[in-house]
Amino acid sequence: MPRLSDTMEEGTILRWLKSDGETVSRGEELVEIETDKATMVYESDQEGPLTLIAAEGDTLPVGTPIARVGASPADGDGNTGLAQPSAPAPAAAAPVTAPAPAGPEPSGERTERVKASPLARRIASERGVDIAALAGSGPGGRVVKADVEGAQAGATAPAAAPAAAVDAVATAKGTTTDVELTKLQQTVARRMAESKATIPDFSIEIEVDMQECVRLREQLKQLARDGAEVAPTYNDMVVKACALALREHPTANGSYRDGRVQLHSRVNVGVAVAAENALVVPTVFDADAKALGEIAREARALADRVRAATITPPELGGGTFTVSNLGMFGISSFAAIINPPQAAIMSVGALQRRAVVDEASGEVIARAMLTLTLVCDHRILYGAEAALFLSRVRELLQAPAALTL
C-alpha cells in the first residue's frame, strides 16, 4: 500500500485499472486507492507483468504489498511479498509499495506476511514467541501486544490446564459468526444507545379497563363486515386516545433538543412496526384530528408499505410521539426506549382477561384489561404531568365515545 500522504496510515483498494497478468509500462495507471475522502490513481513506476496481491475492497496499512510488477509468480523471491522499502529496484521483482519512512518493522525481525505492531514483534522476539502462529486481534488481523502476551500465558499455563487458554476461550460459545449490521440496523443501534445513554428516563404504568373498547370494536366490526371497511384495532384506539390527550398535554408532545424544549403545533404519532431485521416507525400525521377509521386505514397502509419496503422518507419523519405495541405476542407490559428527541413513548401490552375487584359490588370479576406503560424523558416531562397525561388516556379508553368523534 503506497503512502499517498505523510499522515496516511491505511488505504482501501477501490479498483484495479489493470488485470492480473497484464503487462504494464512505466507511468501507466494501475490502481485507484481511497484514503480518508480522497481517491487517488496510482501509477506504475516499473515495467512488466502485473501480479495482484490485494483485492478490491481491501483496506491495508501503508507498506503492505498490494501487487508485484515485473516478476513471474513462480520466481523464488516472488512469494515473500515483503514490504521492503522500494528503492528504485534493480531487482526483477519490485513490490508496488511506497517507501514507508517510519518503517513499521525493525528490519531484522521480518516475518513473512504477518501484520504485527512493532511492540508486539519486539516482545515476541524477546520471549521467543512465533508471531506467525498467532491470530491477531488488532485492526485487519494485526498482531498486537495482547496477542503475544496471551499466547505466552497459554504456553506457560500450569499442567493442570492442559488445553491452551486461548483455544478454550475461542470455543466456549461454540462457533461464532459475525453478522454485519445493515445501515438501518446501525441507525437503530446508534439511536437506541444514544437514547439510553443520554435520557434520564422513568416509566409509569396504568391498568386500563378495556370493556367499553371491546364493545365498541364489536360494533365497528359489524359495520366493517357490512361496508367492507377495516375495523380499527385496539392499537388504533390507543393511538387516537394518545393523540387527543397529547393535544391537552403539549409537553408530552414536545421534544428536547440542545437544552431547549420544543413544543409542536401538530400531533403526529409514530407507530412502531417490526420489519425484517429492523424497526421502522411510520407516522400518522395529525392523529388528533383524524377519525378513528382514518387512523386505522392509514396505520395499516403504512405497515404494509414498511413490510413491502416502499415506504418513503416523509412518511417516516415528523413524529412527535411514539406508540409501540407488543400485545400481539402476549406481552403483558414492557418499557420501550424513547425515540429521541421525543418526550415519551407509550408501550402497549396485550389485552387480557384478568381478575379485578368490581368497584360497586366488591366482588372479584373477570375484565378485559390492558397495561399501558409510559416512558418519559424527565428533562421535559415530569412525573405529575406524565401521570395526568396517562390517566387521561385511560379515561378516553374507558369511555371511548370520544374516540369516534
Binding site: 499517498l4 499522515t7 481511497e34 480518508d36 480522497a38 487517488m40 490513481v41 422518507p313
Partner: protein, 239 residues
Amino acid sequence: MSGTSAPAKEIWVCHLGKVPYEEGVAMQEQLRARRQAGELPDMLLALEHPPTYTVGRRASAEELPFPPAFYEQKGIEVHATDRGGRVTYHGPGQLVGYPIMAAPDVIEHLRTMELAISAALAQVGIQARGRVQDGPDYTGVWVEDRKIASLGVHVSRGVATHGFAVNVENDLEPFGWVVACGLPDVRMTSVASELGEAAEELACFRKRMAYAFCEAHGARQRLVSASRLGIETKVAVAA
C-alpha cells in the same frame, strides 16, 4: 505549502454559476488534463449544481434507500462519481468548489480545504472545525455535531479534482433521504440555518470562500472568466 516557493503564486478563481453535474465533471476532466500538461496554473471553480445525489465508489446500494421513482419524483438526479467518499447531495444554494490543482499530499489537500472553509465561516460568525481526530468518516467541516460542508477528491497524476460543498442556503431535506456520507443520522446544517435572517447570500459567501481558499494556500487570488480557461462554450457531456 504546495511546492512552489515563489511568493507570487496565484490561484485562478472562476465563478461559473449553475452547472449540471455531468457538465461539471467533463469540465474538470478537460481542465485537469491541461493542468497536468502545465498549460494552466492551479484553479478553483466555484459553482452550484441542480439537485443531484452523487455516489462515490465505496457507497453501497442501501445508502440510497428509497425506490428510484421517489428521487425522480423529487426532481433529483443520481450520478456515480470517481471522487472519494460515499453519497452526498448537491443543490441550488449550496456552494460547490472544485480546486483543480497540484496536490502532492492528498490528505494535506483535504485538511487545507477544511481550514479554508472554517476560516470563511468564522468571518460570518460561525464557529466550525474539521474533525480529523474522529476518523476519516468525519472528514468535512462541522458546527458542533452538525455537518456544514462535505469533501471528496480524486487525484490523478498529481492533480486533484472534485473538492468541497458548503451548505449556504440550500434545502437540507434531501440529505435526510439518503445516508449522507455513510453516517446514518448525521445532522446537516447550513449557513442560513445557523444564522437565520442574518445569513448572507450565496453570492457573497462564494467570494469570501474563494478568497479564504487562496489564503489558506498562501496564494493570491486571480479572478478569471470561463473563457480564459477555455470553457466558455458548453462542454459536451461525456457519453
